[in-house]
């Protein structure tokens, strides 16, 4: 992963995520375990470091010169005094999550309190056989977290590249059908989403739905308002935050407290030059009588 130049919008997202970390983990300050893709600049780690005692960072590097960015990541760790907390995993994130070890057989040591998946690309990508390695790897992450009965914050950032072959439309139609069964009329809203010119509007619903689906049997997933912004090289980016709750008194499989209707009606933030502006994309709200 290339070192990400500093962008004020991404920094705003990190600050918002820091608020969530404080809100959920204030009592365990200094003891948290991180898993993520911090990049060689390690900006999220540097901003959040007082909360953590362990950082598991994944760095793939550039093909053929993988060692260079991995070296730079360690350089940052030494310079900023966190080398003794760093565990570097080398390789493709999805492979690492699916196998639980990296290209050098270093293992993923679960569990984590904060998982931050800063993808370079989109989140829907499927390979030639129709398999979504990204979705599968997130599913494996969630499964391993569940084995440790661990509540955690999941931060996910992606761009709008979806390589979508009708997947998004299918998901919205599923949601529409599901709500219709419950007597909820979401037709106008679904229509609004599918016809919306901004891809962010569709992803705002699609990504949380994907995470809920992947974790349905083990976690109750609370989605916070996502943020979309222009990242470096004018790339359209979108950041999501989830509180993944797994506690003994919530039996697995019970419905999320946050309903699909609430998710459809959830607004988002647009971040421009570090300033947040709330938007509902002018999509009709779903009303429940």
């Amino acid at each position: 992963m290339l070192e990400e130049p500093f962008t004020i919008n991404k920094q705003k997202v990190r600050e918002l995520n820091l608020r969530l970390i404080k809100e959920h983990f204030e009592k365990r300050k200094g003891q948290l375990r991180y898993f993520g893709l911090p990049g060689e600049g390690m900006r999220d780690i540097l901003l959040w470091k007082e909360f953590f005692s362990y950082f598991c960072a994944v760095e793939r590097g550039e093909p053929g010169e993988e060692f260079l960015l991995q070296h730079n990541l360690w350089l940052s760790a030494f310079k900023y005094g966190i080398s003794d907390k760093l565990h570097l995993l080398r390789g493709e994130l999805d492979n690492i999550l699916l196998q639980s070890y990296d290209d050098y057989n270093n293992t993923v040591e679960y569990p984590f309190d904060v998982v931050t998946l800063d993808y370079c690309g989109g989140v829907i990508y499927k390979n030639s056989t129709g398999q979504s390695a990204r979705a599968n790897s997130i599913g494996e992450l969630v499964r391993n977290q569940a084995l440790h009965d661990k509540d955690f914050l999941l931060f996910l950032t992606c761009n709008l590249d979806s390589n979508d072959k009708g997947e998004i439309r299918k998901v919205f139609l599923d949601i529409q059908r599901e709500l219709n069964k419950l007597g909820v009329d979401a037709d106008q809203a679904i229509k609004g989403y599918l016809a919306h010119p901004k891809k962010e509007a569709q992803l705002k619903m699609y990504v949380p739905y994907l995470i809920r689906t992947l974790s349905a049997s083990t976690y109750r997933c609370e989605t916070f308002k996502p943020v979309y912004y222009l990242g470096n090289r004018e790339t359209h980016m979108m950041s999501f935050s989830f509180w993944m709750e797994r506690s003994s008194h919530y039996a697995a499989g019970r419905p999320n407290r946050q309903s699909l209707v609430q998710l459809l009606n959830l607004s988002a933030f647009e971040c421009i030059d570090g300033d947040l502006r709330q938007t509902d994309f002018d999509i009709p709200r779903v009303e429940v009588s």
Binding site: E3, F67, L68, H71, N72, W74, L75, F78, K79, S83, D84, K85, H87, L88, Y104, N105, N106
Partner: protein
């Protein structure tokens, strides 16, 4: 951060390595090559007998960089070295001065160093490349304080070596310059001008060197070999550190962490109070070596030319208990130069001890070499062979082995005297008790002999005992005399041929058997003279067995 292309190009243009005299900056375009690529094969095939020496080479460079940084900012405690094992790599990071562009260029010069012998831990300019003997890539990133750039140098050791071996198979060769230029890359990026550091990565550690990734082994090696502080648990650490800072001019330490855990210099428990000795050279000039030494702040030229030269400073702790320390790796003395070990604990034993070499291991400690003419060999298993080394060994042998052997001998005598006195006290105490309960007639003679032996033993050794034991020894002699007299008067004269109970008379043995019995008894008495209880028990069993079985 983006690559500063302009800087990089300029960097490349004047970064042509030649066989010119780089030290004097006289650039002479070579008409013929003087060094070829096979020299890299020598480096990669292992310059060092111990793979961990490679780490020591980089720690030496870090140490020099940190000492230079401390001098620059006037803070004697600044800086530290962090070593991290992260398979497949090992990282060595220091926040010393870092390297500027010139130094980074020089990093590619094989066998070139601008460090001077005697003032720096490293000076040959070979150790910096030692990483290519254990790893497939050597990556160096460095930034110098006040320079808003960082430099990254990558040695692609594996590809370089593959190329050399292929050429070798074809009976060809390649000039060293060409080889190094082909398989190294340099990169310049922007950096905060306040930053100062060097990071070395040994990337993809080769299979045969995998032990480098073992944190425990690595820490143990560092504790024995590099200039770290004494373990806070070593109760004499502060004392010894003060001596070393006072008497060894180039002594210093740096904090070193391995995977976040601080490494400390080893020590051995059960050690007596530390002592120290100076090893002086040229004793003939002054007749005798000074007994006190205060390091001079004046430069060498102002020092008295006739004054004896301090060759080494040695501190040592003697084993609190009997004989040698058990820890085979840590016992004995170790030579150190600039606080880096040279050789192991066998080297002083071999070079200094001519008599009773086993006594070297009655101690643990260090010999800090102060004579700059005594130079560690490149693999640091010994010193380079020269007059200075011979002088160190000669004078060290006179001073250290003699002193330590004498101390060990005295301790041994003291310990033996104490043991003899304590054993005699026990014998007297049990005998006094037996007088109350009654001493069986067949053991009276044995008791008498034991008391006489104990008394003689104490008389022989009381002069070597510590003062408080001498008092106890005198009491032992006095009481033993009383008891011997008392026992003597108790002997039933009529029961023995010469006033003593004699088993031979009781059994009526032949003259030959009696002679054999006497010989056996003599041997037993010699063997168990200082264990009267055991001797007595043995005799009782022998007599009892003889009485029971002899007549069968």
């Amino acid at each position: 951060m983006s690559t500063n292309n302009e800087t990089f190009k300029a960097f490349q243009q004047d970064d042509v390595l030649s066989t010119a005299d780089v030290a004097s900056n006289v650039v002479i375009k070579p008409e013929e090559e003087y060094a070829y690529g096979f020299i890299i094969e020598v480096l990669t095939s292992g310059l060092y007998p111990d793979v961990f020496h490679v780490i020591r080479e980089y720690v030496q460079n870090s140490f020099d960089a940190i000492i230079a940084w401390r001098r620059m900012i006037g803070d004697s405690r600044a800086g530290r070295v962090q070593i991290t094992t992260d398979p497949p790599s090992i990282f060595i990071f220091d926040d010393g001065t870092g390297m500027d562009r010139k130094k980074v260029r020089e990093y590619r010069y094989v066998g070139y160093s601008n460090k001077s012998m005697g003032t720096s831990a490293g000076f040959r300019g070979i150790g910096k490349l030692s990483g290519i003997s254990v790893a497939e890539k050597l990556i160096i990133t460095t930034s110098s304080y006040g320079v808003a750039e960082r430099y990254k140098l990558v040695f692609d050791a594996k590809t370089m070596l593959d190329h050399i071996l292929e050429l070798k198979r074809q009976g060809q060769n390649i000039p060293l310059n060409e080889l190094i230029q082909k398989y190294t890359t340099l990169d310049t990026k922007k950096e905060d001008a306040e930053q100062h550091y060097t990071l070395i990565e040994l990337h993809n550690i080769r299979q045969k060197s995998k032990q480098l990734l073992d944190q425990k082994e690595l820490s143990n090696y560092l504790a024995l070999n590099v200039p770290v502080d004494f373990d806070p648990d070593f109760k004499y650490g502060d004392t010894v550190d003060k001596w070393l800072r006072a008497y060894v001019k180039d002594y210093d330490t740096v904090p070193i962490m391995v995977n976040g855990t601080r490494v400390y210099k080893y020590y051995l428990p059960n050690a007596k109070l530390p002592q120290h000795e100076f090893v002086w050279g040229d004793e003939d000039k002054t007749g005798t070596a000074p007994t006190r030494y205060a390091p001079s702040e004046t430069n060498d030229s102002e020092e008295d030319a006739n004054a004896p030269k301090l060759l080494a400073f040695c501190w040592y702790c003697e084993h609190e208990e009997r004989g040698q320390f058990d820890d085979r790796q840590r016992r004995g003395l170790v030579y150190r130069v600039r606080n880096f070990a040279v050789g192991d604990n066998q080297l002083p034993r071999i070079t200094l001890w001519k008599a009773s070499p086993e006594r070297a291991f009655y101690f643990f400690g260090e010999i800090h070499v102060c004579d700059p003419e005594v130079v560690p060999s490149s693999e640091r298993g010994n010193f380079e062979e020269n007059d200075a080394r011979e002088r160190l060994y000669r004078c060290g042998s006179k001073t250290l082995s003699r002193t330590l052997n004498r101390i060990a001998g005295t301790s041994s005598d003291e310990r033996r005297a104490k043991e003899v006195i304590e054993a005699a006290e026990i014998l007297i105490s049990t005998t006094e008790t037996e007088f109350v309960t009654g001493i069986p007639k067949e053991t009276r003679l044995l008791k008498l002999v034991a008391l006489q032996n104990a008394q003689t033993g104490v008389e022989d050794r009381i002069g070597k005992a510590p003062f408080e034991y001498q008092q106890r020894g005198l009491q032992v002699i006095e009481k033993a005399t009383e008891l011997i007299q008392k026992l003597d008067t108790l002997q039933p004269k009529q029961e023995t041929r010469q006033g003593f109970y004699d088993i031979k008379d009781v059994l009526g043995v032949s003259a030959e058997s009696a002679r054999m019995y006497d010989i056996i008894m003599d041997v037993l008495r010699d063997e168990f003279g200082d264990r009267p209880d055991l001797y007595e028990r043995l005799l009782k069993r022998i007599h009892s067995a003889l009485e029971e079985r002899w007549s069968r």
